[in-house]
């Protein structure tokens, strides 16, 4: 466990992970997604990331233009390839998979 964490920690420093999370105001799923993502980032990215949270209720046109369909929706813009995860991010394993992060616990 510790060995893996040590191995993973340099990654965020070399490659910055750019994330954008689309939420819909204070809808339960959206609030949950923010909390879940913050926890994941704190645990696995150690600050080596940039996260932007877009509230669709405030800027629906932008979300439309950026191809968002359902909320909450997380886009990993960098590193490439770009991936998209929808849902409240409660399924941590799948979130990590989508973000290209090797989980600490298999």
């Amino acid at each position: 466990m510790t060995r893996r964490a040590a191995k993973a920690s340099p990654a965020p420093h070399t490659t910055v992970v750019v994330l954008r999370l689309y939420v819909a105001g204070d809808a339960p799923n959206s609030l949950q997604a923010i909390a879940n993502l913050e926890a994941i980032c704190a645990e696995h990215l150690k600050g080596g990331h940039r996260l932007e949270v877009v509230d669709i209720l405030e800027d629906p046109r932008r979300a439309m233009a950026e191809g968002v369909l359902v909320t909450p929706s997380l886009n990993k813009l960098l590193p490439l390839p770009a991936t998209q995860v929808v849902g409240n991010l409660s399924d941590k394993k799948r979130v990590l998979l989508a973000l290209g992060i090797t989980p600490h616990v298999a």
Binding site: Y22, L57, M64, G87, R94
Partner: protein, 579 residues
Amino acid sequence: METDIGTSKAAPHPLPKLPTGIEGFDHLSHGGFPRHRTSLVIGGPGAGKTVFALQCLVNAARQHGAPGIFVAFEESSSQIIANGNTFDWSLSSLTPEKLFIMDAHLSPTLITAGDFDLVGMLAMLAAKQQEIGAQWIVFDGIDVLLALLQDPAAEVRELYRLRDWLAASALTAILTAKTGSAPNFGFLQFMVDCVVRLERHQEDRISVQTLQIEKYRGSGYAAAEFPLSFGPSGIEVDATKAPDIGHKASMQRISAGFERLDAMLGGGVFRGSSTLITGVPGTSKTTLAGKFIEAACQRGERSLFVSFDEGAEQIMRNLSSVGIALKAHVKSGLLRMHSARTEGISAEDHLLQISALIREHRPQCMVIDPLTAIAKSGALGAARTVANRLIYRIKDEDISLMVTALSEAEGLGGEATDLQVSTIADTWIHLSYLVRGGERNRALTIVKSRGTAHSNQVRELILSDAGPSLSDVYTAGGEVLMGTLRWEKEAEESAKQTRHRAEFEHKRRELRLAEANTSAQIKALQLDLERQRAALTLSSGEDSLHTTSSNLRESELRKRRGADPARASTKKHANGAAK
């Protein structure tokens, strides 16, 4: 239209509806989809759900200037546009302000990590609605979206969310979903006010498409299945009018083609009536139909000639050989000739095609030759209903119709009865062959003619370059004679008459002769008589002389013998006998 929204909600007025612009559907649904409410279009793959929904939006935008939003879950917007461009909608020319297609095609590689909802999407759509002033919205393939939720409870939750959002949005909405695909299908049907089912099934290797309204809250509707097809303008539903029998019964008669036939029919056929001509191949059904159309054109009436599996040019050439000239009428625009192939086209498609022709040309008289062609492809059951509906449709339009039908065998059987057209047709003319004496001759019979004291007699139909005509037939010994046999019979009859006349003359002469003879005999006899009278006079003179002398002699004797006078006569008698 916009001002009466408030009042229609308050008063118990009929449900306000928005026409879809799909003529047949608007009739069936008595005006279209319920305004500001949600309708569901369900059906299997390829049943036309997407086209149906998209067509509603295109029509709303084009015909009523009402903008719409199309949310595509199943296909990408470019696919939708490409499909839409196969119709004459000029979809690409509709600006996103009139028709906004939202690409909601969810990528198959999309990762779901936990529960999600439609809050964001609905917020985006609300913004779009405000932006373009949308009045319609379509969620195409709502089942695809719901399937992603992977949780029946979540599905119901989102459906409720959607319903509430739609209710508050003042949008007229159409949801489409594949039949039975969503686990909450029952709920989906419950939450909407109107359910339309599109179906595609195979009948005798021909795919038949139908539309049926399954539910319409607060409104009457035609509940039956109606055929649907894809024309150049998109979906066409075959139900342009309420399917009831409301034909006006005209008392006006028009020519069935030519005088003798009209005479047999008691003055022609009624305007707006239907005439069925049956017969085996080659009995000149087309000729009669052609004559009917020519007569119509000569009266200056717009006419339509629909032929199957025989080109218009060919028909006109063939008809001109029997003195029926249609070309000039085609040129003047009075007559429209339409020939269609039957292979691989379902009966419903024929119906829609013919309906479109009627709409375009507005004929007063029309011919379908042969009607039985529609039964060639596809199922008989379908063809039967189509044939019936076609005839009723044409009657509704008050068009005088003549259809021909092929019968496979001699007699009144065959396809015409298969299609059961004979029961709907007002007049039924049957053509047959009579083979006798090495000849085939055409016989015409009027099997029925409603409201008409028609002739019951069989007539011989004769074709010449002056057109068809009818001739009386001979019935001899219970058999009908035609053609050469009729001619022979006619010749025989006239010979017989000549012979009769000659015989009569002869007899008269004989009688005269006999009369002359008799009078000659009378004369001779009279001469004889006179001669005999003369002789008699002479002989009676001699006798008196003789009597006197013998009397004298007798009295002499008496005197001498002294006999008594009383016995004298007896004695004299006895003496006479002894002599």
